[in-house]
Structures are given as C-alpha cells and as structure tokens.
C-alpha cells in the first residue's frame, strides 16, 4: 500500500486528553450507569474505567491522572499506570478521546 497515512497518537505521561464534541460521557438514568456515546458506538465502561474517565478534563495529563488514582486507590504506580495507559490508548485509537 502507498500513500501518506496520518500518524497514530502514541500516549505518554505528558499527553493531555479530552472528549471531542462528538463523544459524550454521561450518566444514563434509565440503566443507572455511565455510558460513552460516540459515532455508531456505545461503550459501557466498567467501574474502574468510569473513575479514570471522570478525570478526563482536557487539562490534566495522563501522568497526573495516574498520580490521582494511585493516591486514591493506594495501588502500586506501575500497576495503575499500565491499566490507565492501555485504556486511554484504546479509546484514542477508537477516536473516543483526542489530544
């Protein structure tokens, strides 16, 4: 294959993420749970993912989000960092989060 392919965003600790206008993270009263609405997609994040997504505000860096969760959940930093980075990278790849 030829042609210029735009670059995939690879997360690091300094990346700051937000929900683009077309991706909506909100509480669904009918089902009593958080959902993410995106183009032709509905994501149903589990409880740990919801805690991570609540920290996405377009200002905090990935590293700051990890620090916050380490403090609150008293878990080893490398464990939290691995989980958080994997989740956020996946959502970036799906276009649900943007820099």
């Amino acid at each position: 294959m030829s042609g210029d392919v735009p670059n995939r965003l690879q997360l690091d600790g300094s990346t700051t993420l937000r929900f683009p206008k077309y991706a909506k993270f909100r509480y669904d009263e009918t089902r009593g749970r958080w959902v993410v609405l995106a183009p032709e997609r509905l994501l149903l994040p589990d409880e740990p993912a919801v805690e991570i997504l609540k920290l996405i505000d377009g200002e905090r860096s990935v590293a700051a989000i990890i620090d916050d969760l380490v403090r609150r959940f008293e878990a080893p930093r490398e464990v939290i960092a691995t989980d958080v980075t994997a989740l956020l990278q996946d959502l970036v790849d799906k276009g649900v989060l943007a820099p």
Binding site: M1, G3, V5, P6, N7, R8, L9, P20, K21, Y22, K24, D28, T30, R31, V35, L37, P39, E40, L42, V92, D93, K94, G95
Partner: protein
C-alpha cells in the same frame, strides 16, 4: 418458565422517508416502498423522539430512503438534541449543501454516515442509478469535515466493485473519515432480487478479508474499519440486530414499528404503529416484538447450542427469505438443516451483471406477494 427480563432498547432507526434520488439495486428498504403521502408528519416524529428518550433509547439514526428529502430534518435533529438522543445522519449525501448542513450542525447533529457505491464515478454512478452522484458525495464529505463533524464512510461492496476495495479504503482516508464500514450487500429485498449480479466469489472474498486485516494494522488509530463477513460465506450466523427486539427498533416512514428494517418482509405479522400505540407498549408488550425475543422460540439446533445467546439464531428475515419459515434456524449457520439452500444459492449466483434498480413498482409482482 418465567419471562426473561426485557432490557430497554438502545437505538432507534428512524426511516423518515423511502424517497431517494438514488436507485441502488441493494437498497435495504422493502420492495413495497411507502409513498410521501403516507409519511409521518413533523409532530408525530417529535412525539416518537420524546417517547424514545423516555424509553431509554440513547442514539437515533436518521435514515431513509434519503432523510434529507424531509424539510423538517433539522427540526427533528433539534428535538433529538433537546431530549438527549445522540444523533446520526445516514445519507447518500447527494442532497446535502452548505446551508442545510449548517442548519443541521446548529440543531446539534453529532455524526454523519455517508454511503459510497464505489471508488470511482463510473461504477459508483452505475450502482446508484444516478449520473453525477459520486461527485456530489465527494463534495458532501468535504462539507461534513469542514463543518467539524465526524464522518463514517459506508462503502457497500459486492462482486462488481470488490476489486476496488483498496481504493475505497484510500478514499475514506483522503476524505478524512474516522470510520469506514465495509458493508457487504445483505441479501434481502432488493439485494435478494439482484443476488445473481451482486454476490461475490469466494476468491474475491478471501482477498478482501485479507486486505481488511492488513489495512486495520496499518491504519490503527487513524481509521477504524468495520467489516463483517457476508452470511453466504460464514460458518455461523451474525447476531442480526443484536438479537430480535433486544437493542434496536426501527420505525418505517408510515410509522410502523419493526424489530429490524427488513421485518416487513415477514408474513403473518401485525406490526404496531406509533399512530395507535405508545413505543413502550410496543417494545415491552406487542406480540410482534415478543415472538422471536430471547431463546424460547428457537428450534434445534439453536435451542441447545452454546451460541444461542451470542448469535440469537441469526436473522429471521433471511431464514424466511431462504426457507419460507421465519422460525427456522438461519441457513447462514453451517449447523442449520437448511444450509444447503444457501450453498446452492452461492454456487448458482454468478449470473448477469445487470441490475433491477430500486423504484416504486419495479417488482410489482413481488410487492404483491410481500404485502
């Protein structure tokens, strides 16, 4: 046996009109197309959208036909936004212009899915049955991206254009799409009538599947490619609509409420109308929605199958189209007693490339048979 808990629906497919400037020979609309005079009016659709949100629906797909033939589309998008529904416009794009798109954006439209019939104008316009359609779609895609809306390209593929799948993927990239649906034609209604002209060969399919796998790797994080193996070459059926009356409801231009867009092809059903019943009553209590819900209706081999709550027995409309009985196992399953019907159809389907185009009255005898 206790009745299983019925979950609220997730999405509404609102078919605002069957009118469309295109005449694609694989259109998902029924053979018996509704005329404009039968369509729900603005107030009726507004009520449907409010009821949908109250019922727990999260997303509305405005579709058709071509939804842009409705001059109240922006009003309806505005209502969807006001009641908290995520709105998606499924369009051919040929009627989109800057002013209409601006009104839709202003009303709160969230996403656009634009269909393409081919990678180049010749084949695309022939499939669409409309000269100049492809160029108008390219212009529409540019307008959508300019307006800052996310774009999904829906590329409908079949024997006559599958050789150009690589170019269709490049087209989606060039247009700035975020998602590409490589949508194999589904063989109900118009697609079934044109099966001999459209069904791909197994060699074509193997090449296409390998290409999609390679491109997904190359384009990870840049372009999401949705691709479902067509039933005729699958070993297990797809979970059609995520299961009958489990996630989706479809409303026809005249207000009939259906578990899927092809359900009107099924005989022996009285599909309820939004004109006479509430959506909640229809979803939870109507005979039509309950008939194939869950697993209790299933015959063997579905009933004792480990996958019965994965594929939900496949597609009722396909089971009917191929076997004459909507309650049989979908022949797309290699375990189905009627699998040979599908195998035979596949072997016989390499016929003339000529199309029967979608239009009112094109298949009058079939319309009579399906109504």
């Amino acid at each position: 046996m206790t009745a299983p808990l019925i979950e609220p629906p997730l999405a509404l497919l609102a078919e605002l009109s069957h009118r469309c400037p295109l005449r694609c020979p694989y259109c998902s609309n029924p053979l018996a197309l509704e005329r404009a005079s039968a369509e729900l009016d603005t107030a009726q659709w507004e009520r449907v959208l409010r009821e949908s949100a109250a019922l727990g629906i999260l997303q509305v797909h405005f579709s058709g036909g071509e939804p842009l033939v409705r001059h109240d589309l922006a009003v309806l998008v505005g209502v969807a936004r006001a009641v908290g529904l995520y709105s998606n416009l499924i369009t051919s794009g040929v009627l989109l212009d800057r002013a209409r798109l601006a009104a839709l954006v202003e009303a709160g439209l969230d996403h656009v899915q634009l269909s393409f019939q081919d990678a180049e104008a010749g084949g695309a316009d022939r499939s669409a049955g409309l000269g100049g359609a492809h160029d108008k779609k390219l212009a529409a895609a540019a307008l959508v991206r300019e307006a800052g809306l996310p774009l999904t390209v829906n590329a409908v593929v079949h024997r006559q254009n599958l050789e150009r799948l690589a170019q269709m993927i490049e087209l989606a990239l060039r247009l700035g799409a975020q998602r590409l649906e490589v949508a194999h034609v589904q063989y109900y209604g118009w697609g079934l009538a044109n099966r001999r002209a459209l069904l791909p060969t197994s060699e074509q399919l193997a090449r296409a599947t390998a290409l999609v796998e390679a491109e997904r790797m190359r384009l990870k994080g840049v372009l999401t490619i949705d691709y479902v193996l067509p039933d005729y070459y699958a070993r297990r059926p797809k979970a059609c609509m995520g299961g009958w009356a489990r996630r989706f409801l479809n409303i026809s231009p005249a207000g009939k409420v259906l578990p899927c867009h092809a359900a009107e092809t099924l005989p022996g059903f009285v599909f309820p109308s939004v004109k006479s019943e509430s959506l909640a009553d229809i979803w939870y209590r109507s005979e039509a929605f309950n008939r194939f819900r869950g697993t209790a209706w299933m015959p063997e081999p579905c009933r004792s199958c480990d996958r019965r709550e994965i594929d939900w027995g496949g597609c009722r409309c396909q089971a009917f189209a191929l076997t004459g009985d909507a309650a049989r196992t979908d022949p797309a399953c290699a375990l189905a007693p009627d699998r040979a019907l599908l195998d035979r159809a596949r072997d016989e389907a390499q016929g003339s490339p000529d199309f029967i185009y979608r239009q009112i009255g094109a298949l009058a005898s079939l319309e009579g048979a399906s109504s």
